[in-house]
Symmetry: C2
């Protein structure tokens, strides 16, 4: 049932505890769903209520604390003993009289952890200002220490099994991109392109199925291609439009993102000029990526290339990627940007997305790559260029979905 | 471009300011993406970085504060003047040296709001413990007041236009449910059912397209039907399995959720017995729902019916629903549960989901309804019963997706 063997979870826990020791943390309260999954295997859409995994430095197993109706899911999806799964009743949910963190604090006190040095994920999704306030009220004898990105740091270098899952995600990304682009022509609505992408992302291959990505397919089109985070509408695509597609395949919550830009008919000259520049930039950054190089140095490679063509843009080119839940597949640790001192090591994985956005147009060509023993390897294989489609071309086989 | 006319946004802002006055709030910092959208129209997948809308009691327009690369989206998607859209540079994003809330605090100080009574959404998604800490550091002369659910309370009663959007969402929910159930048979993988649901949810109808729902389709099957928040896997469905499908159609971020339970072949006796009980319960609650009745009273109707059949279950039967972003389409205000004193009023909308979950099986039959002038009306129209499919039935037209 578990996507990784018990040894792998033990290794993750061991590394996490080492980091806790370094920071003087005795109890780590993990509220980030990706980190909860990483340490225990827990996987369900239950992060819309408060929940956590507590890692106690001198206990062999973490404790899962969550909502009563999710406890059976924790029993099914984690390697924890049942006695380490503790649930609060439903009257704590979205109530103005009860807060789940009061329950968590009481349990932590009852099991003798109330007066310890407690690490919390201060700036992670789903750990609200109120959650912290209630924990402080409920644990007046604890000392709180920020444990931001502690587990995320452990996640930075992937195991071979994690890479294998990301490679499967890459197959799904390619397939979704292929069919998304196939659908694009004048007269087709953006929502139909998104629907087709979703179908292939999730239906999977004959060997394995797809999971939901942490970010929906992003699909700005026409003059909105300079606005990267717009989702699709039901606008009909026109001849002359360009469309930026950013998507990810996802397998067992591991992501392989991929972005491409498509033009319906001949692209406007400004965009046509940008295409080869971005391709060259991506190629050179991938050539430069190898163990020992820093993320900051990769950004320099890119900056020099675009400067050669008269472009100056300060932005993040990419970030560490892997396990994730909505709203983000990025790991929030290493960024490929100026001054980032992260040194590349084998089995780190990045989404390299050196986009160029202007007021009324933009171009994205991205790759997910892993650092190998001597260089880098992209996980996705997809024509690395601005893609031009005949405006009214009808695909050869245009079946209908039954 | 805007989904609602300017008058409607003005009304929302007016009601919000009235609530602010009641609570003595001079500046409301709205960080919940649904509330940001409700007040300004802003809609983009940018909530994975810190952003907010600041409503100042004595200023005619709110201010959008967010990331530089999202500012053009705010110009496009909101009714705000460009001068009220203020963006922070990219080096604030996922950085250990800079925090976006430092920027927000500086701007608020510069525009003379630094020493006011500031309302914050303490227990909403995307307002982290750290975000509050940085705001407090950056605004030492402000007084902070919890504004939890302030805007959500304003959202409780829908306008006719909002109901119209939810009705469109209901068409998408029906269509996705229809095709999802059509796909179900022995030998089909769960992921294929999910893929088909997604396709129809998003491709939309000939008249309008679908948006992404705030929660992915939930699809526990077999002995996991008692665990409501599991997402699909690539397990093949078997004869004798039951499958719980909970999904929502979504239009302009407005949701119409719908849940049904399907059995492949004859259902086990325990499940077969539950079907009519849940149907009866849903029917009676819908009959009882009308202006003047409280949410707590609706729960009583349900409790009496299941008690008649010897079942005692304490849980929430439903909640106010409408506008939403991941991870939830619920509004977190009124709940259909014991002791909830919310009085039903026309154009309130609820997802009524009185599920019965046991250790190894469960049943969900849900309806999204609006309170009308004299009773209630469901938005979705879908056979309200445990649905039994012939285990190996092949649908009449089984095309392939090209």
């Amino acid at each position: 049932m578990l996507p990784f063997d018990l040894i792998e979870y033990q290794k993750r826990l061991y590394k996490t505890k080492s980091q806790m020791e370094k920071k003087g943390i005795e109890v780590l309260l993990v509220t980030d769903p990706a980190n909860m999954n990483y340490l225990t295997g827990y996987d369900a859409w239950s992060f819309y209520v408060h929940q956590m995994v507590a890692v106690i430095i001198d206990e062999p197993q973490p404790i899962w604390l969550g909502r009563f109706q999710d406890a059976n899911g924790a029993k099914l999806k984690t390697w924890l003993y049942e006695e380490n799964i503790i649930a609060y009743p439903d009257y704590y949910v979205h109530s103005d009289s009860y807060h789940p963190m009061d329950f968590m604090a009481r349990i932590l006190t009852e099991i003798g952890q109330g007066n310890r040095r407690i690490g919390i994920e201060m700036d992670h999704y789903y750990f609200s200002a109120k959650a912290f306030e209630q924990l402080r009220l409920g644990l007046p004898n604890a000392e709180f220490i920020s444990a931001d990105l502690l587990v995320n740091g452990v996640r930075l270098i992937k195991s071979d099994k994690e890479i294998e899952y990301m490679e499967r995600a890459a197959r799904l990304a390619e397939q979704a991109m292929y069919h998304g682009i196939e659908t694009i022509r004048a007269g087709v609505r953006e929502c139909e392109v998104a629907a087709k992408i979703y179908y292939y992302m999730i239906a999977g291959t004959e060997e394995f199925g797809g999971d939901y990505p942490a970010i929906v397919p992003l699909l700005p089109s026409g003059k909105n291609t300079g606005i990267p985070h717009l989702t699709w509408t039901d606008r009909k695509l026109d001849e002359g439009d360009s469309i930026v597609i950013e998507l990810a395949g996802c397998y067992h919550r591991y992501h392989a993102p991929l972005a491409r830009t498509v033009s319906i008919g001949a692209p406007p000259p400004a965009l046509e000029e940008l295409g080869p520049i971005v391709t060259e930039g991506v190629n050179r950054v991938l050539d430069a990526a190898k163990p020992g190089v820093t993320c900051g140095e990769l950004e320099e490679v890119w900056r020099k290339i675009i400067r050669k063509y008269g472009i100056e843009k300060e932005a993040r080119l990419g970030y560490s990627v892997g396990l994730g839940y909505p709203p983000d597949w990025g790991e929030h640790t290493a960024s490929i940007r100026r001054h980032d001192k992260t040194v590349l090591q084998p089995n780190m994985t990045f989404h390299l997305i050196p986009a160029l956005w202007f007021d009324h147009y933009g171009l994205e060509i991205s790759e997910t790559f892993k650092v190998s023993e001597s260089g880098s390897e992209t996980l996705t294989q997809f024509s690395r260029e601005l893609i031009v489609k005949h405006p009214f071309m009808i695909p050869h086989q245009d079946g209908e979905i039954s």
